[in-house]
């Protein structure tokens, strides 16, 4: 160090002898030059610095200092550099750190870090860290930790990206390699005093580098057109291979699969029937969600339990920096979210949402409710898996609500403990009155349904090589149905009935996940997962009939997977998962293999082969009142086998600064599909007698084009799919289209950002989905004066609904004041009011004639939403 270049910075004020031990520092540095940092500290805290200008030039600091002593603050500030400090005679001397002796292996280092939000200090899961020299990349884990092995070098330049955040380029120097590097990313738009969304940064979705893997930024989806509520499931349906024409958020149909074949995990616990408003909205408040990962097929061995896809939702941990609040209002509901630190190591976040549809029935509510209704007098609606027929002239009392809380404890940089709780509820009540010639009746139907879940999780980054995560999650889905009836025959006393049903699923999941960094290009992950599924269905009809189905099954899985790079161009992810079900009395081996070959930095080819097992499944049956009930069941060792699937995926990607293009072809083979025999009159559903099993497959191509820069951010998806099932006891054993077989689907989504405005449009087109319907029918008179009806069905699902299409548009305005920020939005669903048919079935009606009775088959259809405007406003402060 040249003495001549040493500049001593002396404070003009007199130094205070007790300053270093008494003062605390509060400061926020965002990508600020280190020299500027020292200047600010000198000015605000009367500190004296001595340093070599050449040593600190071009070093930028992003750090938030809150109530730290000067020593701790300096440690924090310099933690991302190869500098250290020394206090001598009241002067802080900045000098280079000695070369690290923490050499992990000869000629190599492991750098490690944690990615955080610069404003809230929340960890950011699944961020991408790219080595700019080699092009190799790693992904931060669920807690934001990453580690990366580099050869012996003086510095490494990293490019760090996370959906919804400003990209960041950092350079780590030798000397920083052995410490935990905290990397702070700033949310898009928040680095400016005014909210200005830079072009290309407002990306609600992202194609990840793995096979069939996407992620979603919940904040980014706010700009998309919304049907009443900002709905993550609707946003997921804008991805290729996930059907959007069902207009239903009760589940996802991925690559022709049934929704129950896709696992939804929220903070470590499973969700069932995760919907509000008869399936119109998902039951998850997007305000609380930090990260969404979607795996459509061929995913790694650590995930299992369903035969097709999986959605991982991670909630926010809460603001560790300062309290913040968010309130919002739309034409269906209002919500509030509060997040605040408790001390320096605990954050708490709470979010609550409730519709006011039971108090005020807005036009949006009426439009949505109208879209649920059929074209006839009565409509069958989905009350959380209970399909009830209601009179179209009746208006139910209905509301939905959900609550999320999460407490996160960060005892130090290596440990995270979180407790998460969720409760969603739909409450439905309808009164029907009938006055007839024979009898009159008054009935009241009360149905409540929803999920409750909680999880506790402890994660620790033990060292640069080892990380583990232990979690315990419990989940309960409960549907309670009660129908009280009072029937009065003419001139008689009322006859009262009470029907009760409960449909309950309890899950307890224990999970231990471990990650071990073996070498530069090799990581091993292994763990164990145990889930107990307890199912309890009880039905009592007027105390005279009852039906029960109960089962209690354990599913235990162990897995091992690794990721390694045999060459700079090739990444291979082999893995294996072993699952044992005590009810099925069987073990299942699920090998997984995926690989990506990078031909150039822009072009890659990929493929995956994997086996998956699902030991809990869903079906429905007629409850003998003409209504249907969904219920889940455990696979057994008899006629109800576990559902197994084999995924084959192959494709290629092109990605540069401006565009992403991704094409995948897939073939999913299913064995052990189950159907329940209808009209089963058993009191106790007999698993062995009332079900029959079959097989199926889906195959197709998903195409994804993404324009990711410029003022216009747009993506287009095309999916071609064939999904067929074969059951020996159905359709004479002939293969037929599955319910979610949809040959073509095209979706175009655009977001145009201009200063504080975001304009968005989504156009969806889908070819018709199958239905069975009726070809012909006739009636025969019976000598006792009654009639019997006979109908001829065409082959199963051989008819098709009309093609589907709609255009949604929205406009969002963002503004930021001194103490709060706000978003105001207007959405119009189905701008040109195209009439779309959601469902169709046929039934007989009788036309009276003087000479005879004529019967026709009435076609009952439920149409989708027509032209529906909606607005919202959100405040954050």
């Amino acid at each position: 160090m040249k003495k001549a270049s040493l500049i001593l910075f002396f404070c003009l004020s007199a130094s205070c002898p007790g300053l270093f031990s008494q003062s605390t520092i509060n400061a926020n540095f965002q990508n600020e030059l280190l020299v500027s940092v020292f200047e600010r500290l000198s000015e605000n805290y009367h500190l004296k610095f001595a340093y070599d200008n050449q040593l600190i030039q071009n070093i930028r600091i992003t750090s938030i200092i809150k109530d730290l002593s000067i020593e701790k603050a300096l440690h924090e500030i310099l933690s991302g550099t190869d500098l250290i400090f020394e206090i001598t005679g009241g002067v802080i001397i900045i000098k280079p750190r000695e070369k690290s002796k923490m050499v992990f292996q000869e000629n190599s280092f492991i750098i490690r870090g944690i990615i955080k939000d610069s404003l809230t200090l929340e960890s950011l899961p699944y961020a991408t860290i790219i080595d700019k020299q080699t092009g190799q990349f790693v992904v931060s884990n669920a807690d934001g930790y990453f580690s990366y092995k580099i050869p012996n070098t003086d510095s490494v330049s990293l490019h760090i990206s996370y959906l919804g955040y400003q990209n960041l380029n950092i350079t780590l120097r030798n000397g920083q390699f052995n410490s935990l590097n905290k990397v702070y990313l700033t949310p898009v738009g928040m680095q400016f005093k005014e909210v200005i969304v830079k072009s290309g940064q407002n990306k609600p979705i992202q194609k990840e580098s793995g096979v069939s893997h996407f992620s979603i930024d919940p904040i980014g989806t706010i700009s998309l057109p919304q049907i009443g509520e900002n709905d993550l499931f609707r946003s997921m349906q804008l991805l290729p291979g996930i059907s959007a024409t069902g207009e239903n958020s009760a589940g996802l149909s991925i690559r022709g699969s049934a929704p129950e074949q896709n696992l939804i995990v929220f903070d470590g616990f499973n969700l069932y029937h995760a919907d509000h408003f008869f399936g119109e909205f998902s039951a998850l408040n997007p305000e609380i969600i930090k990260n969404v990962q979607i795996y459509k097929s061929g995913y790694e061995a650590r995930y299992g339990g369903r035969a097709t896809g999986m959605v991982l939702l991670t909630s926010k941990t809460g603001n560790l920096n300062k309290p913040s609040f968010n309130v919002g209002l739309n034409m269906l509901s209002s919500h509030i979210m509060a997040e605040f630190p408790i001390g320096k190591k605990i954050s708490f976040i709470m979010s609550a949402r409730r519709s006011y549809t039971d108090i005020l029935k807005s036009n949006v509510y009426k439009s949505i409710f109208q879209s649920i209704r059929s074209n006839t007098d009565e409509t069958i609606i989905n009350l959380g898996g209970v399909y009830e027929s209601i009179n179209n002239s009746s208006i139910p009392d209905f509301y939905y609500a959900d609550l999320n809380t999460k407490l996160s404890y960060f005892p130090n940089d290596k440990n995270i403990v979180t407790f998460s709780f969720y409760k969603g509820l739909d409450n439905f009540k309808i009164a029907n009155e009938h006055i007839g010639n024979i009898y009159s009746s008054n009935t009241i139907n009360k149905t409540n349904w929803g999920n409750t879940g909680a999880s506790i999780r402890w994660a620790k980054q033990w060292n640069a090589k080892f990380y583990n995560n232990i979690s315990l999650g419990i989940s309960e889905f409960l549907n309670t149905y009660q129908n009280n009836g009072s029937y009065t025959l003419i001139s008689a006393n009322p006859y009262k009935t009470t029907d009760n049903e409960t449909n309950k699923i309890d899950d307890i999941t224990f999970n231990v996940h471990n990650e071990f960094k073996v070498s530069t290009n090799n990581k091993i992950e292994f763990g164990i997962q145990s889930t107990n599924h307890k199912i309890d269905y009880q039905q009592t009809l007027d105390s005279t009939q009852s039906r029960t189905m109960q089962s209690n099954g354990n599913e235990i899985s162990v897995y091992l997977q690794t990721a390694f790079n045999p060459s700079q161009h090739l990444t291979i992810n082999p893995g294996i998962r072993l699952t044992y079900s005590n009810i099925a009395q069987k073990s299942f081996i699920e090998p997984r293999l995926s690989a990506t070959y990078f031909v150039t930095d822009e072009i890659s080819f990929k493929g995956a082969v994997s086996k998956h097992t699902q030991v809990i499944n869903k079906s429905s049956f007629d409850n003998s009142n003409g209504a249907y009930r969904d219920f889940w069941y455990n696979a057994n060792a008899g006629s109800l086998p576990a559902l197994t699937s084999t995924h084959y995926v192959m494709g290629g990607s092109f990605s540069n600064t401006f565009f992403d293009i991704d094409i995948e072809g897939y073939y999913l083979d299913f064995k052990g599909l189950s159907e329940i025999k209808q009209n089963s009159e058993q009191d106790i559903l007999s698993i062995n007698k009332d079900f029959f099993a079959g097989n199926g497959f889906s195959k197709g191509i998903d195409v994804f084009l993404y324009k990711k820069t410029g003022m216009l951010n747009a993506w287009a998806c095309y999916s071609y799919c064939i999904a067929n099932n074969t059951f020996a006891g159905l359709n004479n054993g002939v293969t037929f289209p599955a319910d979610n077989d949809q040959r073509h689907e095209f979706k175009l989504s655009t977001i145009f950002n201009y200063k504080t405005w975001a304009f968005s449009a989504v156009w969806i087109y889908g070819s018709g989905k199958p239905y069975t319907g009726i070809d012909y029918g006739f009636s025969l008179d019976i000598p006792n004066g009654t009639q019997r009806f006979f109908m001829f069905e065409p082959a199963q699902n051989s008819l098709r609904l009309p093609d589907y299409q709609r255009l949604d548009v929205s406009c969002t305005y963002s503004l930021k004041g001194y103490w709060c920020a706000a978003k105001i939005g207007l959405s119009i669903i189905n701008l040109y009011g195209h009439s779309n048919m959601k469902s169709l079935y046929d039934h007989l009606i009788k036309l009276n004639d003087k000479n005879q009775s004529t019967y026709i088959i009435e076609r009952v259809n439920t149409n989708s939403l027509g032209f529906t405007p909606n607005c919202f406003i959100n405040f954050t402060f």
């Binding site: 209808q678 009159e681 006979f790 005879q852 019967y855």
Partner: protein, 252 residues
């Protein structure tokens, strides 16, 4: 979904017939209809101007189309009496369709006996009046299945509803569908009005029973009657015997 519906594979033929041959009665009628396809599936429409003949080994009866486009065919003479134990063959020719159906008439009466010909409707059933609260009907089983019809006799008078004392809309199984047996016990709950009833005990065949096959165990039941070729429907013989029953209000 309607209760009592049956589902079939798509029909090869488009004609449906319906006729019941009541033993010892004049031939009643035959109804013929055809399926018509359309955007909204039409249930059926009457068939007119069909060539219809019913034959026995000894006789042949040509049916006439009832005016009014009703699809109903009758026999204009008075000599077509259905004989017990006889087999009848129906031939229908219409456009390019030909239906041939056969029906065997049960051979003899079941000789029913009503052990108690009056049911007294009471508010409270006690040990004293319990014997009057039901009536047992017995018969000889000629065919495998019997079907009981309750026919209210006092149709010309304003019926008096008995629901004021009996709260039930329950209809017993033997008034709903054929069953295998030779006796039933009828109770006051089984009747709607006070008054006189003709109780018909009808011997029916497997063809008739098949109308009541519920689609249990499989989602695609078949209604392809063994005795009908080239079409669908019912053409069957029925032998009915009648007994009389009174349902009276308890006198104070």
């Amino acid at each position: 979904m309607m209760s009592g519906c049956k589902k079939e594979a798509s029909p090869g033929s488009k004609l449906i017939i319906q006729s019941y041959l009541y033993a010892n009665k004049r031939f009643d009628t035959l109804r013929i209809a055809e399926f018509v396809a359309g955007d909204i599936p039409f249930f059926s429409r009457p068939v007119i101007h069909a060539d219809v003949v019913i034959e026995t080994p000894e006789n042949s009866f040509r049916l006439t189309d009832l005016q009014g486009h009703s699809g109903i065919y009758y026999y204009s003479g008075s000599d077509f009496i259905i004989k017990p134990g006889t087999s009848y063959t129906l031939t229908v020719k219409y456009n390019n369709y030909v239906i041939i159906a056969q029906a065997s008439i049960p051979a003899k009466s079941s000789e029913p006996i009503l052990l108690n010909d009056t049911i007294i409707v009471t508010n409270t059933v006690t040990s004293k009046n319990i014997d009057q609260s039901f009536a047992t009907l017995k018969w000889n089983q000629v065919t495998d299945y019997s079907f009981i019809i309750s026919d209210y006799e006092e149709k010309d008078t304003l019926p008096i509803d008995i629901y004021s004392s009996i709260n039930s809309s329950y209809v017993p199984y033997y008034f709903q569908r054929p069953f295998n047996g030779n006796s039933v016990t009828m109770q006051m709950y089984d009747f709607k009005y006070y008054g006189s009833y003709n109780i018909l005990i009808c011997q029916v065949t497997d063809d008739f029973m098949k109308l009541f096959d519920e689609p249990t165990g499989t989602q695609v039941p078949t209604l392809i009657q063994d005795n009908i070729r080239g079409g669908y429907g019912i053409f069957t013989g029925v032998y009915c015997d009648t007994v009389k029953l009174k349902v009276l209000k308890e006198q104070p």
